[in-house]
């Protein structure tokens, strides 16, 4: 019997649609030819719509629940450990050891952020001792819908390093997978689909970054962008983002995402908002 090979599709709103454009990208992985979806602007719009629809509920679910759901995602990654290793090896030709290490670090990363959800406000929030008869405190909220541009180096860990802070804080994410090595992110979409992460909270697109960058930058319903980008792409993201004052975080695509700073509270900076609430302390 002939082997059944997988058809890779986009991941939008918890479902696996083909690109509406019908366009594909030829990719060879592990000796097999794949025709991946080349997402269009319209696919991006659909993903943003799904993200927006899911975000409020995700943000208003308790931090404890979001933590458990992210931990469940780590369990799903663990269950697909060998598939991830294969996907990373097949496309990026790294040594088995390196691929294993990346998957290991990726799982650990998700677990770390499962533990962050109920600590963000503790660490970054404050009670403000104002000089007047008021009780004032600053809470930390999700920014909203976050566009993520994953790096080519460490295609799985890089994607998770940029997406996890946003997800943990209660944002919904539209992730553009690594352009050169998209398949690990597609395996991630299957892990997401079988985890308890609600549909639409994390959407994954494959395609050309040159096409997705300007669309992401200028989309008025994206609130923030976290992008592994350089030079032209970085400038285009920042310039386009000015249209609706998106918060833009640019990271070096060649970063070592195993460094502790990727799990530090600094990671929440571009994807959270400080909200300060005042009330009179005397009637």
């Amino acid at each position: 019997m002939a082997t059944v090979t997988k058809t890779w599709k986009l991941f939008i709103g918890g479902a696996f649609p083909r690109t509406e454009s019908g366009r594909t990208i030829k990719a060879v992985a592990g000796g097999t030819v794949h025709h991946l979806c080349k997402a269009s602007r319209k696919d991006l719009r659909d993903a943003v719509e799904a993200a927006r629809a899911a975000q409020t509920k995700w943000a208003s679910s308790t931090a404890y629940l979001r933590g458990q759901i992210l931990y469940r995602l780590a369990e799903m990654l663990e269950a697909r450990r060998s598939e991830f290793v294969e996907a990373i090896r097949a496309t990026s030709r790294v040594t088995p050891r390196k691929a294993k290490a990346e998957v290991e670090a990726s799982i650990e990363h998700v677990v770390s952020f499962a533990g962050w959800t109920d600590k963000i406000a503790i660490v970054l929030g404050s009670q403000n001792p104002v000089a007047g008869p008021f009780y004032t405190f600053t809470g930390i909220e999700a920014t909203g819908v976050v566009g993520v541009l994953a790096p080519d180096e460490s295609p799985l860990l890089g994607a998770l390093a940029l997406a996890c802070p946003a997800l943990a804080a209660g944002n919904a994410v539209v992730l553009a997978a690594s352009e050169r090595h998209p398949i690990p992110a597609l395996v991630l979409s299957e892990a997401l689909a079988t985890s308890d992460v609600p549909g639409g909270v994390c959407n994954i697109l494959t395609g050309e970054h040159a096409e997705l960058v300007p669309a992401m930058a200028t989309h008025r319903d994206i609130d923030a962008i976290v992008a592994a980008a350089r030079g032209k792409h970085a400038a285009a993201l920042k310039a386009g983002a000015a249209e609706n004052m998106k918060r833009v975080t640019i990271v070096d695509p060649a970063s070592d995402f195993t460094e502790p700073r990727w799990r530090s509270p600094v990671a929440f900076r571009g994807v959270t908002e400080a909200k300060t609430i005042w009330m009179p302390s005397m009637a």
Partner: protein
């Protein structure tokens, strides 16, 4: 309730007579000295209440901005490496000097800006002193300020500030920048440069090392040259959303750190169970404080439908007792609009509101002064959410009234804007107050109060109201690398 039209609300004049000397001409403050501009250009700054010239101020050109940035670069090494407790010493002394010269600064601010002395004396200047005092104390505690951040200064900060709170915005920008070890080139607004230049005198008095703070006066072009200067590492801007977007685009191809505090169209939400006396005062404070020229002004009044007549009845009654006029009169509630340009902008919005079919209500029955720029407190009823006056920031004493029926509808209406700076919520039920506070997308939410500010309390917006916070430790993060 009986309208109290028969009462004569006029007070005898109570002018603030504290004498303030103003030099006829001001140079630029660069490298610790006042210098003549290389541009050889000057412009006048006037008192918007009298239209009389107060002084001639230098207009910084390209060469001037160049020299100012160089001075800040030169000062950076010494300032950033100074022992933190010593750096703190300068900031504490600045705070004390401001307190000593508080009345002088308040009077000067009222003259240059047009806002009532009551506000400059009781709000602006005390907050300025507090901002320096609070940040002085941070200098040697930065390691504890921002979790995950090893505190390092960023470098030279270009700071461009607006005319609505001239000295307060200077303090909000300069104090955290200096506390974190950065140096500054500040550009005050062209219509209100005088208090920043007076602050420069204070900086000289406390022997702040030359170049740590430089002040270049001028208009938009000076600001543009400053923020686009390649040797600036950090840009902080407070002002309109349009200019903020231009600055964001101009900085797009660079690694400059950017914080923007922009416009607003903030909702002030009144539930039927609100403590009504306080709510009416909160509405008045929300929109007529500083003539409504406040980025976080409560300019969209959202009233629960069942009490809209009561609220408008009480509000119009209260509007009759607002005293509009001489900013230097201690009884004045509403002063002058800051400039002719702003006056025309506010009036064109009022015109637009009338044309779009909203009902304009003006309760001021006194006479506005013959000279100067004035708008009587104005409110619009019968406003639709799609009306221009319900969507665009007017930045004047103009309130638009909309209604809602349920908390969910209140939240939806509150969020029906591109802005997200502040919101007010008035209700006696704590659970409802917190539910609505959680639902509104705004950086500052005032429950049963409005327009409160404090150095310890972060201020700044969601969405197109900009990004970054000022005040508290969230504010410090913006000035650490």
């Amino acid at each position: 309730m009986q309208p109290a039209q028969s009462i004569d609300w006029s007070y005898a004049p109570a002018p603030e007579t504290f004498p303030v000397e103003i030099q006829q001409e001001h140079g630029l403050f660069i490298g610790g000295k006042f210098v003549d501009p290389r541009s050889r250009k000057h412009f006048d700054t006037i008192d918007p209440a009298t239209e009389k010239k107060l002084s001639r101020v230098a207009e910084a050109g390209k060469a001037d901005v160049e020299v100012a940035v160089k001075a800040a670069q030169k000062a950076f090494k010494g300032w950033s490496r100074m022992r933190p407790a010593e750096r703190a010493g300068y900031l504490f002394r600045i705070a004390r000097r401001i307190q000593e010269r508080a009345r002088e600064l308040a009077v000067l601010e009222s003259m240059d800006n047009g806002k009532p002395i009551k506000e400059t004396r009781d709000v602006d200047v005390p907050l300025v002193a507090q901002h320096f005092f609070h940040h002085a104390g941070w200098c040697d505690k930065l390691a504890h300020a921002v979790p995950g951040v090893e505190p390092r200064p960023i470098g030279v900060c270009a700071q461009v500030i607006p005319w609505n709170f001239p000295l307060l915005m200077a303090a909000w920008k300069i104090a955290p920048a200096l506390a974190c070890g950065n140096t500054v080139v500040l550009k005050p607004a062209e219509t209100t440069p005088l208090t920043a230049l007076r602050l420069a005198e204070i900086l000289q008095e406390v022997d702040l090392p030359p170049g740590v703070v430089n002040i270049v006066t001028g208009a938009g072009e000076t600001g543009r040259m400053l923020v686009e200067h390649p040797n600036v590492q950090k840009v902080a801007f407070t002002g309109s959303t349009d200019v903020g977007k231009r600055i964001a685009r101009a900085c797009a191809g660079t690694d400059k750190r950017l914080t923007l505090e922009l416009g607003g169209k903030s909702p002030n939400i009144i539930f039927a169970d609100a403590p009504m006396d306080q709510a009416i005062e909160g509405i008045v404070n929300g929109i007529w404080f500083n003539q409504g020229q406040v980025c976080c002004a409560g300019s969209r009044l959202l009233v629960e439908e069942s009490v809209v007549d009561e609220v408008i009845g009480r509000l119009t009654h209260r509007m009759r007792s607002l005293r509009v006029g001489n900013p230097l009169d201690k009884n004045t509630d509403v002063g002058a609009i800051n400039s002719r340009q702003q006056l025309e902008r506010v009036n064109s919005f009022i015109e637009c509101g009338v044309q779009e079919g909203a009902d304009r209500i003006v309760c001021f029955d006194g006479a506005l002064p013959d000279t100067g720029y004035w708008v009587a407190p104005t409110l619009f009823r019968g406003v639709q959410p799609a009306h221009t006056i319900a969507r665009e920031e007017i930045f004047g004493p103009v309130l638009t009234v909309l209604t809602f029926r349920t908390p969910d509808e209140a939240i939806a209406r509150a969020n029906d804007t591109n802005y997200g700076l502040s919101a007010g919520v008035w209700t006696s039920r704590a659970s409802k107050a917190y539910e609505v506070a959680a639902g509104v997308k705004a950086g500052v939410v005032w429950l049963n109060t409005f327009n409160q500010f404090d150095a310890t309390s972060p201020f700044g917006g969601f969405k197109e109201s900009g990004f970054g916070r000022e005040g508290g430790r969230a504010g410090l993060a913006a000035y650490l690398a």
